[in-house]
């Protein structure tokens, strides 16, 4: 890469050729306002807010999309640029409702921030709003076309990052609307509920189905015992909501906050991540030694499951029958835990705090999610909902004293913690499968090959002479490559060159799930993951099979891994689903 010299408002900077003006400006410490641009996406330059002037030329450049060249000198701000940007904002506001006070994005909206920064005080243009109705058909997210500013982020996310093609721009001109084909309801479309569109939307046009009210109702119902689990990635996600640096781990404070919010008991999904590893590890070893569809594909991520059921139903035999940690946890909560705590499962209201909008759908997926004889998980709240719940309660999060999770399903290993990052399930599985196969412990438990943000990570782990070939995929659009490989191998009667494959729908894994705090980009993904890996490193136990509470669960209750009871409570089935329900 060659280096070019450019000037931003007279400040000289050296950047790599091909860098955009926007990034060169950032390198020079100059802020340029943006609206449609997002670090995760290819710039499409739809809003025009980032315009700058090229010195010595009449040219107006869109900083987010234009690459720099040697000798380029740009002016990013003068009275004329300011007026143009302000007019752009006023025009956007002429098709946008002024309902900030009642909007889910109030205080966290990119458009609201810009209107504040530019000091917009009046609306000089006649306001015309879309009359497309809200789409509330999905269990996970809501589409509100009235608030859409047609930036295009969601469409690119859904098509290019997720490969799902649920959303498209339908129509033309003023009537354009982001929606599924034929203006179908989202629930009838191929949408896999990942919520990445919601996480990337700059405004309140796509958002998680807010169910905070159900939590409040449950904790104030004297007949209900609210029992909460928190997912691995919540402990690094929530901190940003309270202004802490990305990657800060606040596990003990979250337990404490939930107790103050009225939870009867607080448990950790990390415990059930460990449980998943025991079940899935034995399933893997079983398939290697006794036969079965290979390679084995992970099953923790409900969006990925929805995707494979719709797009690759011929590969369902390859998918692990293990439920996700959340669902395993729900089933154990209303059986084993209820018994130990002396509670009637019918009085338990099981809540899961998740990074994920798809988990809302998963909890009500089918009858397998009632393995305990009751709804195993009654309510799923995303990290963002938990943040709002805490903010409108008396809890002062930053001042909370740390607390412990309640036993006997609160203890976890570091392997359970890293589930939240891409490659984490694989790394945790390797740590335990190695022990199952060889009877020994790994000398060094870190599996670097599966960490980091490369879209498809491949590696081979040596199990005492037996090579185990693994692949890790995150960002659903990249799954196609390995899935097509398996499909082709199956058609030819051969085997794809892997034993075990982890697939997570969201780029970076659950640390950047569709329900996590806004603003995730690769810098934040890295910091959030590092938080989890650091927490793992500090753990007393690094491997799931070393977790004493897990061993006790098998001893007292489940019997053997993949045994009959385990199968009934912890495993599930899949079915082919049509891309379009209507």
């Amino acid at each position: 890469m060659s280096i070019v010299h450019v000037k931003i408002n007279g400040i000289p900077v050296e950047v790599e050729a091909g860098t955009t003006v926007l990034h060169a400006a950032r390198a020079a410490g100059v802020r340029i306002p943006t609206l449609c641009y997002h670090d995760d996406l290819v710039p499409f330059g739809s809003c025009g807010l980032c315009i700058v002037k090229q010195e010595g030329s009449a040219k107006i450049i869109r900083a987010c999309a234009a690459p720099v060249h040697e000798g380029l000198s740009v002016i990013t701000d003068d009275p004329e640029i300011f007026e143009v940007r302000k007019t752009i904002l006023e025009l956007i506001l002429s098709t946008h409702p002024s309902s900030c006070l009642t909007c889910i994005r109030n205080g966290e909206c990119e458009l609201q921030d810009l209107a504040a920064e530019f000091g917009i005080r009046e609306q000089p243009y006649e306001v015309r709003l879309s009359d497309e109705p809200k789409d509330t058909s999905s269990a996970s997210i809501v589409l509100d076309p009235e608030k859409c500013i047609k930036c295009g982020r969601c469409v690119q996310v859904c098509q290019d990052l997720q490969g799902t093609f649920a959303l498209e721009f339908i129509g033309r001109g003023d009537g354009t609307c982001m929606a599924p084909a034929a203006m179908l309801a989202l629930d009838d479309s191929p949408c896999v509920k990942c919520g990445q569109c919601a996480a990337h939307c700059p405004v309140g046009a796509i958002y998680e189905k807010d169910e905070i009210g159900a939590f409040r109702a449950a904790v104030s119902d004297p007949k209900k015992k609210v029992v909460v689990q928190i997912a691995p990635s919540i402990r690094v996600g929530l901190s940003e909501t309270f202004g802490l640096p990305a990657g800060t781990v606040t596990t003990g404070k979250i337990y404490a906050a939930l107790k103050q919010l009225g939870a009867y008991a607080v448990h950790d999904t990390n415990f059930s991540a460990d449980l998943t590893i025991i079940e899935e590890g034995h399933e893997l070893v079983g398939r290697i030694t006794k036969g079965g569809a290979m390679p084995l594909l992970t099953s923790c991520c409900p969006s990925w499951i929805d995707y494979v059921e719709k797009y690759y139903p011929d590969l369902l035999d390859h998918v692990s029958s293990c439920k996700s940690p959340m669902q395993m946890h729900g089933a154990i909560t209303k059986t084993f835990y209820a018994e130990k705590a002396g509670l009637d499962p019918s009085e338990i209201f099981a809540v899961a705090i998740m990074p994920c909008t798809a988990k809302k759908y998963e909890s009500k997926r089918d009858e397998n999610m009632k393995a305990s004889g009751f709804q195993d998980v009654d309510l799923v709240l995303t990290t963002r909902e938990l943040g709002r719940l805490i903010k409108n309660s008396p809890v002062d999060f930053l001042k909370l004293e740390e607390e412990e999770a309640d036993s006997p399903i609160g203890e976890y290993s570091g392997a359970g913690t890293i589930f939240g990052a891409t490659g984490g399930v694989m790394e945790a599985a390797v740590r335990t499968a190695y022990n199952v196969v060889t009877g020994k412990e790994m000398e060094r438990v870190e599996v670097e090959a599966v960490r980091g943000l490369d879209e498809i990570k491949k590696g081979t782990v040596d199990f005492d002479g037996t090579p185990i070939r693994v692949a890790v995929v995150h960002g659903l659009s990249h799954a196609k490559e390995v899935l097509d490989e398996i499909r082709e191998a199956n058609a030819n009667g051969t085997k794809a060159p892997y034993e075990f494959i982890e697939i997570m729908a969201c780029r970076g894994g659950c640390i950047a799930g569709g329900g996590q705090p806004y603003g995730a980009n690769d810098i934040l993904r890295k910091e959030r993951s590092e938080g989890l890996y650091a927490d793992d490193k500090k753990s007393t136990f690094r491997c799931s099979h070393q977790n004493p509470s897990i061993l006790k669960l098998y001893e007292d209750f489940l019997g053997s891994p993949n045994g009959e009871k385990a199968h009934h409570l912890l495993h599930t089935t899949y079915q082919e689903r049509p891309l379009y329900k209507a």
């Binding site: 098509q159 093609f165 649920a166 959303l167 498209e168 129509g171 033309r172 034929a182 379009y580």
Partner: protein, 157 residues
């Protein structure tokens, strides 16, 4: 899916699609041909094109909803096109549309409940001397006045 028989692609259309399958820009060409044969792009036809070209249905819908040319609803047995070209517009095409809409009880781009008539506003049809002009099926009516509308409709009932 009740219309699926009606929406069967002809052998010619299928071979056209096959021929264009791997060529860039094929989607619009194929959709053109489909509309030529079926008068509009039905959901079933879009599903078929999606399967035949291995293109997401959403992409097809993005295209057909973007271009005015594509029709998403089945036209009536008699499609009434009112010219809204400059000459016709100046000579009073809008009152004709209003009258047609009133008598047929539909808006532009809609079809009557019995499926008999649909209404469409089009660009200059090339008989400006006869403005205002409307066409029904292929038949052209020139220098149309409001009070002729009822008669024109009756002719096709």
């Amino acid at each position: 899916m009740s219309e699926s028989n009606e929406n069967k692609f002809s052998p010619e259309l299928l071979s056209f699609i096959n021929e264009w399958k791997d060529k860039p820009g094929n989607l619009i060409m194929v959709l053109h041909k489909v509309q030529e044969e079926q008068d509009y792009i039905s959901r079933e036809a879009a599903d078929q094109v999606a399967a035949l070209l291995d293109v997401p249905l959403a992409t097809i819908w993005g295209v057909v909803s973007f271009y005015h040319f594509f029709k998403l609803t089945k036209p009536g047995k008699h499609n009434i096109q009112i010219c809204m070209g400059t000459a016709c517009y100046l000579k009073g095409a809008q009152p004709l549309i209003d009258e047609l809409a009133k008598q047929l009880a539909i808006e532009v781009n809609e079809v009557t409940d019995d499926g008999l008539f649909s209404l469409e506003a089009v660009r200059c049809v090339g008989c400006c001397g006869l403005a205002p002009v409307l066409t029904v099926g292929g038949e052209v009516f020139g220098k149309v006045t409001k009070d002729q509308i009822a008669g024109i409709i009756a002719k096709y009932k």
